[in-house]
């Protein structure tokens, strides 16, 4: 489909262009596309995720105490103190302030997510693209390796990686990086599989063939034509992986492979220390870090699932079937560039009720 000079839309052009701009921002577009229960789940998820990110970034300002602080001007905090005005969520068995450690823990979590997911997306996409487009023995070897890793319990693999990377040490940087890179190894196969599957499908499409006929180089076809069309499912895996990263990090910490309390706050580690507290009826040391994990994972997963449902016409409400047409059209490159119907895609995406 080629772009024809569009007749002026009936609505005022200014409003049209403003709506299109809003619609093109990824998440905003989905919020507008959703409705009812779906919108509620998506918005709840977004709010939870936002709170998590804000807590993580502004932890030094929000947290009443430092993550490794044991005393203030009025003396030592004391261990296993019940929640009070001074320590809203009480103190841990090690004498830390629970509230502060929960807030600081968000920072550790966000950092690990960012490092782990960015690294694994980069490597996974690169390998998937090369493997899927070039094929041959390299492809077969990579697929078998990826499948082997994919099938294996990710926590065990992360444990092995954590042993290797930290060498048993656990400072802030080695500890956090070890956790992040351990997760990277686990997640690369997931991105690899998705991108490879898409690439093998796309490389047989007509537009790739045309590019080849014109004489485009292989790297150009791979990174310009194929990659752009193969990345549609990435945001979904991204959210699912982020939540899994939080869980695996907490699992590592729970088994004692996390980060020492003096170098950073980590929810899994705090929960491990809370095991014995629980048996003697001390609930605050376990409840709050645990709830923090649950809310963060819940938030990110709600966003991911909603995006997934919105991208899958089978799972979307009947009302917005036409919207899928708009979505696909916008992301697929056709001969004349991105489809740009008169008046934008708004007409396509907002069918009559």
């Amino acid at each position: 489909m080629t772009t024809t000079p569009a007749p002026a839309p009936t609505t005022a052009p200014t409003t049209v262009s403003r709506r299109r701009l809003i619609d093109r921002i990824p998440v905003v577009h989905q919020v507008r596309q959703s409705y009812g229960v779906q919108r509620f789940m998506l918005v709840t998820g977004l709010i939870l995720t936002l709170v998590f990110v804000i807590l993580a970034i502004f932890a030094p300002l929000i947290a009443p105490y430092g993550y490794a602080q044991l005393r203030d001007d009025s003396g030592a905090f004391g261990a296993q103190e019940e929640p009070s005005a001074q320590h809203l969520w009480g103190t841990t068995v090690g004498g830390y302030d629970v509230l502060s450690r929960v807030i600081w823990g968000a920072q550790t979590g966000l950092f690990v997510i960012v490092v782990a997911v960015v690294l694994s997306i980069f490597l996974g996409v690169l390998l998937g693209l090369i493997s899927g487009y070039l094929g041959g023995w390299l492809d077969r070897v990579l697929v078998v390796i990826a499948d082997a890793i994919y099938a294996f319990p990710s926590l065990l693999l992360a444990i092995v990686m954590a042993i290797v990377l930290s060498g048993g040490q656990s400072g802030l940087v080695p500890g956090v990086f070890a956790a992040a890179i351990s997760l990277t190894v686990v997640y690369i196969p997931q991105y690899f599989r998705v991108i490879r599957a898409e690439t093998t499908r796309i490389k047989n499409e007509a537009f790739v063939e045309s590019a080849r006929v014109i004489g485009a180089s292989t790297p150009r076809i791979m990174f310009k034509h194929v990659l752009r069309n193969a990345t549609r499912t990435l945001p979904l895996i991204f959210t699912l992986n982020s939540s899994e990263a939080i869980l695996t990090l907490a699992g590592l910490g729970f088994l004692g492979f996390g980060i020492e309390p003096s170098s950073a706050a980590e929810w899994g580690y705090d929960l491990n220390k809370a095991i014995s507290d629980v048996t003697s009826g001390i609930w605050w040391t376990a409840l709050f870090p645990g709830l923090a994990i649950v809310f963060v994972v819940l938030g990110i997963t709600l966003v991911g699932e909603s995006l997934n449902d919105l991208a899958d016409p089978r799972l979307r409400g009947r009302r917005s079937v036409a919207a899928s047409a708009g979505l696909t059209a916008q992301t697929s490159v056709t001969a004349g560039g991105v489809i740009d119907p008169p008046g934008g895609l708004t007409g396509l995406e907002e069918p009559e009720r």
Binding site: Q38, P153, S280, R314
Partner: protein, 358 residues
């Protein structure tokens, strides 16, 4: 468009050898176990050994350097890494996964002793997962996009958003400490464990052993101990099942044969429970294969939470003791178990759904 000849030719050959399709698939899938295990074992070996030798890791700093060197030499860790690698592969082929450093036991013996407990826990957890996931998933699909559906979906997400150890701690806090209904840790109380040890042929699977004693108190005791760990671990997978059943039943509910059945006057309950449900099961079987890996990973955490003396608990102990030979051995053996389970699951899936083996 260039399609390699082989790709076109293979299905034709398969099609001609009528009936050989399944056998062929079985064989290819079986042979695939070996590279999978090989890759995982190699990966674990390379990773573990890149930290240095296990003896230094275990006792380094506690022994004088010359004594340490002597022990390393004795165990053969000062030889070229390739020699060690091939020796390790040879050992594994003979079914020898090494001997732990901290308590000097063969890994295979550790697995046999503690594997039964993990097997039992995984089995209980799967039952909980089925009970929670399948009926609720069908219900959610049937009332899709209404508030009940949203509640069920949030419940499903909560199930796998909650780390098993936190779920375990909460269950412990409520049911074991506050209400004092169920035991907080262990697989059985001391007296029942003793009674089961006296059996002529204890299996290590406590439920079977409890039935062997014929003592109803022992059976009740074993079951009581199993409830909390099974629920903690089972909810994790149950949430995933719920979501999966929902998605797939929604898919099949929209098909024409369901419409046809409805127009014939088939009751709605039967429609969801039979017509739409059966084809939706196939993806679930495939996912169970991947869930085994999740369950094993979760078992490590659940066992640590509940002091359930299984492989995961033991693995955590060895990790604490920095006994990396034991860790490597257990992880390698788990790799074999995962590969074999996936093979079995794939075969079952192919048996049910011919499209899988094309």
């Amino acid at each position: 468009m260039t399609v390699p000849d082989a790709v076109v030719a293979t299905p034709r050959v398969r099609g001609r050898s009528a009936g050989g399709g399944f056998g062929r698939y079985l064989l290819v899938r079986f042979l695939l176990i070996f590279p999978t295990v090989f890759i995982l074992v190699t990966l674990v070996f390379v990773l573990m050994r890149s930290t240095g030798d296990p003896i230094t890791a275990a006792v380094g700093g506690r022994l004088p350097p010359d004594e340490l060197a002597a022990r390393i030499h004795e165990a053969g860790y000062d030889r070229p890494i390739l020699v060690q690698y091939f020796e390790y592969l040879g050992q594994i082929l003979r079914g020898d996964f090494g001997t732990t450093i901290s308590d000097n036991r063969p890994i295979t013996e550790v697995i046999v002793t503690f594997g039964a407990a993990t097997l039992e826990l995984t089995f209980y957890a799967l039952i909980v997962a089925f009970i929670v996931g399948i009926p609720l998933g069908m219900l959610a699909a049937y009332i899709r996009d209404r508030w009940g559906d949203a509640v069920l979906r949030v419940f499903a997400i909560l199930c796998y958003a909650t780390p098993v150890f936190f779920a375990g701690l909460l269950l412990k806090l409520v049911f074991a400490v506050q209400l004092d209904l169920l035991p907080a840790f262990g697989r059985a109380s001391v007296s029942s464990e003793l009674e089961m040890k006296l059996l002529p042929s204890p299996t290590g699977i406590f439920l079977i052993d409890a039935f062997q004693t014929g003592n109803s108190e022992v059976i009740a005791d074993v079951l009581q101990h199993a409830v909390l760990p099974a629920v903690a671990l089972g909810l994790l997978t149950g949430g995933i099942f719920l979501r999966l059943v929902r998605t797939n039943v929604i898919g099949t509910l929209g098909t024409e044969y369901v419409d046809a059945a409805r127009s014939r006057g088939v009751r709605e309950l039967r429609l969801v429970g039979r017509h739409a449900y059966k084809p939706a099961l196939i993806p679930i079987i495939t996912v169970i294969g991947l869930q085994i890996a999740v369950l094993l990973g979760g078992a490590v955490l659940t066992e640590t939470t509940f002091e359930w003396k299984g492989l995961g608990f033991q693995l955590a102990q060895y990790l604490q003791a920095r006994d990396f030979v034991a860790v490597q051995g257990i992880v390698a053996l788990l790799a074999v178990i995962v590969a074999v389970t996936n093979f079995i699951v794939d075969v079952i899936a192919a048996f049910i759904d011919p499209r899988v083996r094309y």
